[in-house]
C-alpha cells in the first residue's frame, strides 16, 4: 500500500534534481556567451554610467550611444541616479538636459508601476532628476496614493531634490494612509518642510491620525528648524501623554538652545520616563541654563546611567561653575553612583 507514495517521492526527487541541474547548466551557458559579448557588458550599470559621462557633452539626440543608454529603462534609471552622485554642477545639468530632450523621463514613468519595489524607488529618484510637469504629477500621485510609506517618502524626497517639494497637506494626506513606522528618510523631508514653511509642521501635530513615529519625527524636525516660535508648542508636547513625544520635544528644545526653554526643561528632569530625563539633562547643557546647576547635580544620582552621564556632561558645558560642581560631586558624592559618574566623565574629559 505504502510503496507507491514512496516510489513517487523517489521519482519526484530525481526529476527535481535533474530539472535544477538543467537550469543551472542553462545559466552557465548563458554566462559563457555573455562573457563573449562586449555589448552586453556595456549594458551593465557601471558601463552605462561611463557612457553617460561620455555623452554628457553636446551629443546629438540620434547618437547611438544615447539610444543605447535609454534602451533598458531599469538600468538607465539606476545608472542616472548613480551618475548624479559622481558628477555635479554644469556637467550634470548638461547631461540631464540631453536626457530630457531624449524623453527618458517619459520612458521611466512606466517603471513606477513595476512589481519590483527597488525598481520603483530608483525610478522615483531618477524622475526627480529629470523633473518636468508630467514627472511631478506622477511623483505627487505616489506621495498621495502609495500604500508604502517608503515610497511616499522617496517620492517626496525626489520632488524636494528637484525644488518642487510637496506641501505639508499633500504629504500629510499620504502619511495618514499608513500605519507603518516612519523610515529615517522622512526626517530629511520634514526638515526641509520645517525650514520652508515654519509653523506648518506644528499645525500638523494637531492631526491625531498620524502614526506615533511620524509625530516624533515631526517634533524632531521642528527642533532642527531652529524656529523659536515653536517653543510654546514644544513646551506643551513636553507635558503630553506619550513618553516618546515628550523625549523628542525636550530634545528639540535642547537643539534650539533658547533660554526660554529653561523652565520646561527643569520640569522635564522630574519626568517618570528615564529617556525624557536624560534628554532634559543634555538639553540643559545645550541651553547653558546655569541656574539649573543644582538640578544637574541632583541628576548625578539618578537611577538611570544615561541620565547620570548626560547630567555630568551638561555640567561640564556650563563652564567653570559646572565643572566645580562636578569635581565636588566626585570628591564628596551624595551617592556612590553620583561620585562614579562625575569621576568618570571628569577623567574622560581630562584625557
Amino acid at each position: 500500500m505504502i510503496d507507491d507514495p514512496l516510489l513517487v517521492l523517489w521519482r519526484l526527487s530525481i526529476l527535481l534534481s535533474l530539472l535544477s541541474l538543467a537550469v543551472l547548466l542553462a545559466l552557465v551557458v548563458s554566462r559563457f556567451f555573455e562573457s563573449l559579448s562586449a555589448s552586453r557588458r556595456g549594458r551593465q550599470s557601471a558601463g552605462l554610467v561611463r557612457l553617460l559621462i561620455e555623452i554628457s557633452h553636446d551629443t546629438p539626440l540620434e547618437d547611438p550611444s544615447l539610444m543605447r543608454f535609454a534602451r533598458n529603462r531599469r538600468l538607465a534609471a539606476q545608472a542616472l541616479v548613480e551618475f548624479s552622485t559622481l558628477v555635479r554642477g554644469a556637467e550634470l545639468q548638461q547631461a540631464l538636459d540631453r536626457l530630457r530632450e531624449a524623453k527618458l523621463g517619459r520612458r521611466l514613468l512606466g517603471l513606477l508601476r513595476d512589481t519590483n519595489r527597488e525598481t520603483r524607488l530608483v525610478a522615483m529618484e531618477a524622475l526627480g532628476l529629470l523633473i518636468d510637469d508630467r514627472a511631478e504629477r506622477a511623483l505627487l500621485n505616489v506621495v498621495r496614493r502609495s500604500h508604502s510609506l517608503q515610497e511616499t517618502v522617496t517620492a517626496a524626497r525626489a520632488l524636494q531634490s528637484a525644488g518642487r517639494g510637496p506641501g505639508i497637506e499633500t504629504l500629510l494626506s499620504g502619511l495618514r494612509l499608513k500605519r507603518a513606522d516612519a523610515p529615517a528618510e522622512l526626517a530629511s523631508v520634514l526638515s526641509e518642510l520645517a525650514l520652508n514653511t515654519p509653523g506648518a509642521l506644528e499645525a500638523a501635530l494637531d492631526d491625531k491620525h498620524l502614526a506615533p513615529s511620524i509625530r516624533v519625527q515631526i517634533i524632531q524636525a521642528i527642533g532642527r528648524s531652529g524656529n523659536y516660535q515653536s517653543l510654546g508648542a514644544l513646551e506643551r508636547l513636553a507635558q503630553g501623554d506619550s513618553a516618546d513625544e515628550r523625549a523628542a520635544a525636550v530634545a528639540a528644545m535642547g537643539a534650539m538652545a533658547h533660554p526660554d526653554a529653561t523652565r520646561a526643561l527643569a520640569r522635564a528632569t522630574k519626568d517618570a520616563d528615564a529617556e525624557v530625563r536624560a534628554e532634559a539633562a543634555a538639553a540643559i547643557g545645550y541651553v547653558a541654563a546655569k541656574e539649573l546647576t543644582g538640578v544637574l547635580s541632583d541628576l548625578l544620582s539618578d537611577k538611570a546611567w544615561a541620565v547620570r552621564f548626560n547630567a555630568a556632561e551638561a555640567l561640564l558645558r556650563l563652564g567653570p561653575d559646572g565643572r566645580a560642581r562636578l569635581v565636588q560631586a566626585s570628591q564628596h558624592p551624595k551617592t556612590a553612583q553620583a561620585g562614579r559618574a562625575a569621576a568618570m566623565v571628569l577623567a574622560e574629559r581630562a584625557g
Partner: protein
Amino acid sequence: MMNAVSDLPWELIASVIATVIISVGLAQSAIYVIQLIVAGHALYASPPVRRSALLWRRYGDLAPPVSLIAPAYNEALTIEQSVRSLLSLRYPKIEVVVVNDGSRDETLKVLIEAFGLQPAQRAYELELDHKPIRGLYATSAHPRLLVVDKENGGKADALNAGINLSRAPVVCSMDADSILESDALLRAVRPFVEDPGHVIAVGGTVRLANGCTIEHGQVTKIGLPVNPLALFQTVEYLRAFLMARLAWSEFGALTIISGAFGLFRRSAVIEAGGYTHGTVGEDMELVVRLHRHFHRKKEPYRIAYVPEPVCWTEAPETLRVLGLQRARWQRGALETFFRHITMTGNPAYGRPGMLGMTHVLVVDVLGPLVEAAGYVLLPLLWALGLLSWAWFAAFLALTFTIGVAISVSSLILAELQLRRFPDWRHLAVLGAAAVLENFGYRQLNTIWRLRGWWQFLLKRQSWGEMTRKGFNRPS
C-alpha cells in the same frame, strides 16, 4: 529465548523505524523547499541594492552611528591589518572598539605600537557583566579607535565589555579576523534606516574568503578555493545564508545571526541581558533571547537580514579542524535549544516559538540523530529483506537527490538575484560541488554533529566545565 526473538514482528518494527526516519527527512526537505520559495520571493520583491553609490545617495546622511566591536584573542600577527581595514570602512559615523580578551601573545603591544595608543579614560556603566577591564587605550591620531584591554573571559565576555563601552545606538559584533566589505555597514544598516522603530537586530551574509585575493584587508578578487572541503563549505554557506536565513527572517523567526557579523540595537541587547557566558553558541543564544524578551514584553520588534555579502571569513581546510568547528556549532545549537526549550511550539512566543524553535528541533536537535540512524538502519533492514526497495529508494531520495536539488537551486537563486559569481567557470565549479557535497561531505557532517551531541551530553553531566572558544580562526 530464541523463539521469543524470532516471534517478534520484525517487519512491523522495521516499518515503524523507517516511517519515523522518512517522516523527519520529509519534514526537513519540506522546510528547505519552503525556505527556497520564500527566499526567492523575498529577493524578487525587495532585491538588494547592487550599487553602493545608490545606498550612499539614499542613506549616507541618515545612517545611525555604529560601534564596531571586534574581540581579539592571540591575534598579534594579524591584528594591525585587521584594525586598519576596519578603520578604512566607508561609513559616516563609526567607532571601532577592539577588545583584547586577555591575549597571551603580544596583541595589545602590537596595537599600542602600531597606532601610537595612549592610556585613556571613558565614562561607562557596567550594564552587562564581564571580566575586569585592565585598561583603555586611544589616540588623537585615530579618534575613531578605542582599545579595551581586559582579563580573559571568552568572546561573549569581550562583546559585553565592548557593548558597555560603546556609545553608538547600534553595535556591530564581529570577529577581529573577519573581513568586511567596504560598504558592509551601509548595506547592513538599511533595515535600521527603513524601519527604525522596530528593527533590533540585523544579520548579514557571510561568505568564504578561501581562494579569494586579499589585499590591504579587502577582498579584491573573488576566487574559488582549490581545497574540496572549502569548496563544499562555499556551497554550504551560500545555501545557509541566502536561502535559510533570508527565509526565516521573512517569516519573522530568524534564530541566528552569525557571530562573524551582526548588528544590534545596543539598548535592546542591554535590556535582554547581553551575551551569555558559558555557551559556545552565544550568537544564536542572544538572538533567541531577544525574541523571548520582546515577546514577553509584548513589544513589536523585527530581526532582519540583508542578503548581500557583507563579511568574508576563512573556512577550515582540514577534516580535523572542520570537525571540531561543526561539533562546536552543534553543541551551541543544543545549548541554546535546551536553554529556551519552553519556547518550542509555544504560541506565546509567536513565530519564533512556533516556527523558529520547531525548526531547530527538527533540523538541529533531531536531524543528526535521525539521519545517522537512517544511514545505518535502512540499508541494513533493506539488506535483511525487512524493508521493500520503495522504503530504501525514499531514503535515497531524502538523503541524496533532494539534497542535490536544494543545493543546486540555491546556486540558481544566487545567480539570478545577486549575480555575485564573477564568471561562468565559478558557477560551473560550484554546481559540481553542490552535487558532490551530498555524497560524503554531508555524511561526514552528520558524524561531526553527532560528536557535538555527545560533547553536549558530557558537558551537562560534568556541570558546566567550560571550554573557551578562541577567536583566532583556524585556517
